[in-house]
C-alpha cells in the first residue's frame, strides 16, 4: 500500500517532472482494480534526477524484494546510473521508470499525458489509449485482464452499446 496523496503532493512540491502510469493511471481513467503501488515515468534530466533523489531520500528507498542488508545507496548518481527502479519506501511501494516498453521515456510520453487535478495539484497522467498501448506492448500475461478492462473503459467513453446496456 502506498500513501498516494503524500507521494504525489511531495513530488509535485519538489518540482519533479513525472507522469503517472500503471494501475493508478488506470484508476484515474475509471478502473475498478486495486493496485498497491505507484508507477511513475520520470524525466531523465540531471536536475530532475537530483530533485527526485532528494525528495525520496527521507522515505528510505530500498530495492523491493532484495535481501535486507544488501548495500544500496540512494542518491542522484544511483538514479543516473540506473533506469528503472522498483522500490519499497516508508510511504509504500514505488516504481520509478526511466522508460517503458511501447512508450519510451518521459519526453516521448508527454504528448500522450493528460493533466489531472488531484489533491489540489496538477498531476500528469498517461492517457487511456496510450496506457492500453503500453500495457499491450509489455506483453505480460497478468496484464491481459487489465487491458480488457481499459478497453471496456475506452468503449464506455465512446458510449455504451445496446448489448452492454441490456446487461
Amino acid at each position: 500500500m502506498i500513501d498516494l496523496q503524500r507521494v504525489l503532493v511531495e513530488l509535485d512540491t519538489a518540482g519533479v517532472e513525472f507522469i503517472v502510469v500503471g494501475g493508478v493511471a488506470a484508476t484515474v481513467h475509471g478502473s475498478a482494480r486495486v493496485t498497491q503501488d505507484l508507477d511513475i515515468v520520470y524525466a531523465r534530466t540531471p536536475e530532475n534526477i537530483r530533485r527526485l533523489a532528494a525528495t525520496l531520500t527521507p522515505w528510505k528507498p530500498y530495492l523491493r524484494g532484495a535481501p535486507a542488508g544488501l548495500p544500496f545507496r540512494w542518491d542522484a548518481d544511483t538514479v543516473r546510473q540506473g533506469l528503472n527502479f522498483t522500490l519499497t519506501t516508508t510511504l509504500g511501494d514505488l516504481d520509478l521508470l526511466g522508460e517503458i516498453a511501447g512508450g519510451g521515456g518521459y519526453d516521448a510520453l508527454l504528448p500522450h499525458a493528460e493533466t489531472i487535478s488531484l489533491f489540489g495539484r496538477n498531476i500528469r497522467c498517461l492517457g487511456l489509449q496510450k496506457l492500453i498501448a503500453v500495457k499491450r506492448a509489455a506483453g505480460r500475461p497478468r496484464d491481459l485482464e487489465a487491458i480488457a478492462e481499459l478497453e471496456a473503459l475506452a468503449e464506455e467513453a465512446d458510449g455504451p452499446s445496446a448489448e452492454d446496456t441490456s446487461r
Partner: protein
C-alpha cells in the same frame, strides 16, 4: 519494417497476427502513412486497427460494466480516494489473516 514496439497492426489480409505486434505495411497501406501513424500515437484509421487479442476479448465479456459506469460518474479525486480506501481495507484483511495464523 523496424517499428516501435507497438500497438498498431496493419490490416493483415486474413493472417492472424500476434496481438500487439506490428506488421509490414500492406499494399493498401503505403509505408509512409503506416510509419506516420505509428509515430504519431494518434488513434488508428480504419485500415490500421489494433489486433484483437482473443484472450482480451474473452476477459472483456466478463467485465462488470455497471461498476465501470459508476466509477466514471465519480471525479478523478473520488476515484483515487476510493482506491486508497480499498488499499487500506486490503491491508487490514491481510493483517487480520496473518494474526490468526
Amino acid at each position: 519494417l523496424v517499428a516501435p514496439p507497438g500497438t498498431l497492426v496493419a490490416a493483415s489480409g486474413g493472417r492472424s497476427p500476434r496481438p500487439g505486434t506490428l506488421l509490414a505495411p500492406t499494399s493498401a497501406v503505403p509505408r509512409a502513412r503506416f510509419e506516420a501513424v505509428c509515430a504519431s500515437g494518434s488513434p488508428p484509421p480504419d485500415e490500421l486497427k489494433p489486433a484483437a487479442d482473443p484472450v482480451v476479448e474473452a476477459y472483456k465479456r466478463h467485465i462488470d460494466r455497471t461498476l465501470l459506469r459508476e466509477n466514471l460518474k465519480r471525479s478523478v479525486e473520488e476515484r483515487i480516494e476510493n482506491l486508497m480506501r480499498l488499499q487500506r481495507f486490503a491491508q487490514d484483511v491481510k493483517h487480520a489473516g496473518l494474526s490468526r495464523r
